[in-house]
């Protein structure tokens, strides 16, 4: 079976209608790159949904259909979803299409009950309906097998845990046995046994007529009745057990969502502490600023006083100049007076002529006039100096820069505070949906349910043993009766013989099939493992009853501990083993297969992958598989490289990046 193309619209993060075309021929690998949380697992789920009508989340739980519809689409009232896939087998081309729509009178769906699903199938263009559909689906991709071909990263990484975990192990074992063909014998065996019981009842009625066989016939009848009653009780118990299991599973899911509540509560507490801290810091920052502002007024008044002071200084200088000039004038007056008094020039000692005397008198008048009009005195200079001195005392402290810095810090803290307050509001809102006391209640209830289920399981075991014991007795009697010449004549006895033979064959066949298939899986998986591992010491794999795989070293000893990388390689080896040993090969779609591998192992896996199946689809993120280093290893096998792009937190799209990737 080969995937040709898948198209989806409004499926999980994929809003617009978009398609992915798969590979064909020797180029049998398609790579889809996508960062975490962008839509790789959703892509896998799209394939699952197209085939089987469900999508899974962590721990293999089904996602509610209403949550499959893209959020952006819902926001604008578009509640339809569609996924269609084109598939090809050796004999035909199929198209499967699955759609979800709101029920007719529902404008705004709130749960799965409000949605209607349609599924249509075409084979070579012709619609396939009714019971034929189930048959065709069985041929294409039996549901039980899908787990190992739609292989998500979680499964790869947790295979070992899943195999050991008591809740998941039976599911995994069952899924593996589906692939290996065991149900054909177990279910077949059950049905044959039912028919055998019916035939035995008929036989008992027939043989009651034969007196020689009356007592055995009676015994047979009694045993049949007892087995019948026991089986009815067993069926009731089984139903009760299944209900309890489902309840435990629900409670587990609730606990997980509640652990989110505990997480949120812790976050809230941390943020509230942080808020308190920030508030304290804000108060300190304000205090620091107020401290600085106490004396900042000096910085404010300084500039103007400086201006005034400069003015006063200029004025004083002018006065001082005048004072000096006056002193010169005074000296000149003194000289002239002396000359006039002596009638002799004091400078040159010559007797003054009358004309010179007259000139000197005039000169004296001028000088005295100038002095008298000089409006200055040392008083004014002294006054100015005092004022200047006072003003010089007014000094700023240069606080501007420090205040600016203090305010910058304060601003930053206020922004932090607002941001923290917003986050707190968000978390509070999210928490409103939880009730933290409830965690304990749910946990206690789950414990109770599991204990009850365990005790029912034990009872079921006892009852099964009881039924088996009685059945063996019944078979013995039946065989004895069938061999009896008188009895052999009856048709019912021959039917009992035939059914009995089939029953024994099918029953014995189950164990033989399991063993043989396990061996084949072990052989194929070991072969794969030896190609994938780089550890020289690791010789092969050994498989146990639950399909857990152990690594065996060259000395034949079990390797007890293994790295996450080794874990992944073991899981990949198992897939290959199942693919080769199983009923049906199909495409392998792997989500994050390289997560834990180092470069050497990654190289090995990359070289191995294209050989694992007719078609391989790898969903990886950039860190997992580097384009420059890793893609070239698959160069000639890659038909297409796609990329999942983020459009928003609620929308992604897949785009084709390369076709026939060569470099």
């Amino acid at each position: 079976m080969r995937l040709n193309k898948i198209t989806f619209k409004n499926f999980m993060p994929y809003r617009r209608e978009q398609s992915v075309v798969f590979s064909s021929g020797s180029r049998n690998v398609v790579v889809v790159y996508g960062d975490n949380m962008r839509g790789k697992t959703s892509f896998l789920n799209a394939i699952r949904f197209a085939f089987f009508g469900y999508a899974t989340a962590r721990h293999l739980r089904n996602i509610d259909r209403i949550n499959l519809i893209n959020d952006e689409a819902k926001a604008i009232g578009d509640w339809t979803l569609s996924v269609s896939v084109e598939v090809e087998t050796a004999s035909a081309v199929y198209e499967l299409r699955r759609e979800l729509r709101p029920l007719q009178h529902v404008a705004h769906p709130t749960s799965d009950a409000d949605l209607h699903e349609t599924f249509s199938m075409r084979k070579d263009g012709v619609p396939v309906t009714g019971k034929d559909r189930a048959f065709e689906m069985n041929q294409l991709m039996p549901e039980g097998i899908s787990r190992f071909f739609l292989f998500d990263g979680e499964l790869l990484q947790e295979y070992e845990i899943l195999v050991r975990d008591t809740e998941s192990a039976p599911k995994i074992k069952q899924a593996i046995e589906h692939v290996l063909g065991v149900p054909a014998l177990t279910k077949g065996g059950d049905e044959i046994r039912t028919l055998l019981n019916q035939a035995q009842e008929r036989q008992a009625d027939d043989l009651k007529q034969l007196r020689s066989l009356t007592s055995q016939a009676e015994q047979q009848r009694t045993l049949q009745k007892q087995i019948h009653t026991l089986r009815e009780a067993q069926a009731r118990q089984r139903a009760e057990y299944d209900k309890l299991e489902a309840r435990a599973s629900d409670l587990q899911q609730r606990l997980e969502s509640m652990s989110r509540a505990v997480d949120l509560a812790r976050q809230l507490h941390e943020m509230e502490s942080e808020l308190k801290l920030i508030n304290g810091q804000i108060t300190s920052a304000r205090v620091r600023r107020a401290d600085l502002l106490q004396d900042a007024w000096r910085d404010l008044i300084e500039p103007q006083t400086v201006l005034v002071r400069r003015g006063l200084e200029e004025e004083r200088d002018e006065h001082l100049a005048k004072v000096r000039s006056n002193a010169v004038t005074l000296s000149q007056i003194d000289t002239v007076r002396k000359s006039l008094a002596a009638s002799e020039c004091v400078t040159c000692d010559q007797t003054l002529k009358p004309s010179a005397t007259a000139r000197l008198v005039d000169r004296l008048k001028d000088l005295e006039h100038a002095l008298a009009h000089s409006q200055t005195g040392l008083d004014r200079v002294s006054q100015l100096s005092n004022q200047i001195e006072q003003l010089a005392k007014i000094r700023g402290l240069g606080l501007a820069d420090r205040v600016i810095e203090a305010e910058r810090q304060l601003r930053g803290l206020l922004v932090s505070r607002t941001s923290t307050q917003n986050k707190i509001a968000e978390v509070r809102q999210a928490l409103r949906e939880f009730e933290t006391d409830a965690v304990e209640r749910v946990r206690a209830e789950r414990e109770q349910v599991l204990t009850l289920a365990a005790s029912i399981e034990r009872e079921m075991g006892t009852r099964a043993a009881d039924i088996a014991g009685r059945t063996r007795k019944l078979d013995q009697i039946s065989r004895m009766l069938s061999r009896n010449p008188e009895a052999r004549g009856h048709r019912s006895s021959r039917l009992v013989a035939a059914y009995g033979a089939l029953d024994r064959i099918f029953t014995a066949g189950v164990d033989i099939l399991r063993d043989r298939q396990r061996q084949r899986v072990e052989d194929y998986a070991s072969s794969a493992f030896s190609q994938l591992t780089s550890e020289q010491d690791f010789k092969r794999l050994s498989i146990n009853e639950n399909y857990g795989l152990t690594i065996i070293d060259e000395k034949g000893r079990e390797v007890p501990e293994r790295s996450a990388g080794a874990e992944q390689i073991v899981a990949i080896s198992l897939i290959d083993g199942l693919n080769k040993a199983g009923r049906r090969g199909g495409p392998i779609v792997m989500d994050t297969p390289f997560g834990r591998l180092d470069w050497v192992h990654r190289k090995n896996v990359l070289s191995f992958l294209p050989e694992m199946a007719e078609q391989v689809v790898l969903l990886v993120h950039e860190g997992e598989m580097e384009r420059e280093r890793d893609l070239p290893l698959l160069k000639h096998r890659i038909s297409k490289v796609y990329r999942i792009n983020r459009i928003s937190s609620r929308e992604s799209e897949i785009v084709l990046e390369h076709e026939e990737f060569d470099s």
Binding site: K131, A134, F135, N138, P142, E143, G144, H178, V179, L180, G181, P183, A184, L185, K187, G188, E191, I192, T194, L195, R491, R494, L495, A497, A498, Y499, A501, L502, R504, I505, F506, A508, G509, I512, L513, R516, Q517, R520, Y524, S527, K580, A581, G582, R583
Partner: protein, 68 residues
């Protein structure tokens, strides 16, 4: 691995071998027919078709044996 053996081949091989070993009073043909039914409907939820088919196949063989 050069083997082209499928899982179906293996199941059938086991059943036929057991039939022979148990010297069962049924034919190989019946075993094949019943297995074919199981194979085709392995995953169906409603098993009526299978049970009915099995019943018919066994009865027709037993009745054919009567006629011989």
């Amino acid at each position: 691995m050069p083997e082209e053996v499928t899982a179906d081949d293996i199941v059938l091989d086991i059943l036929l071998t057991l039939r022979h070993e148990h010297q069962a009073p049924i034919s190989d043909r019946l075993v094949r027919e019943i297995y074919a039914l199981q194979k085709l409907h392995q995953f169906e939820a409603e098993r009526d078709k299978v049970i009915l088919g099995t019943k018919r196949a066994v009865e027709s063989e037993v009745d054919a044996g009567d006629e011989m």
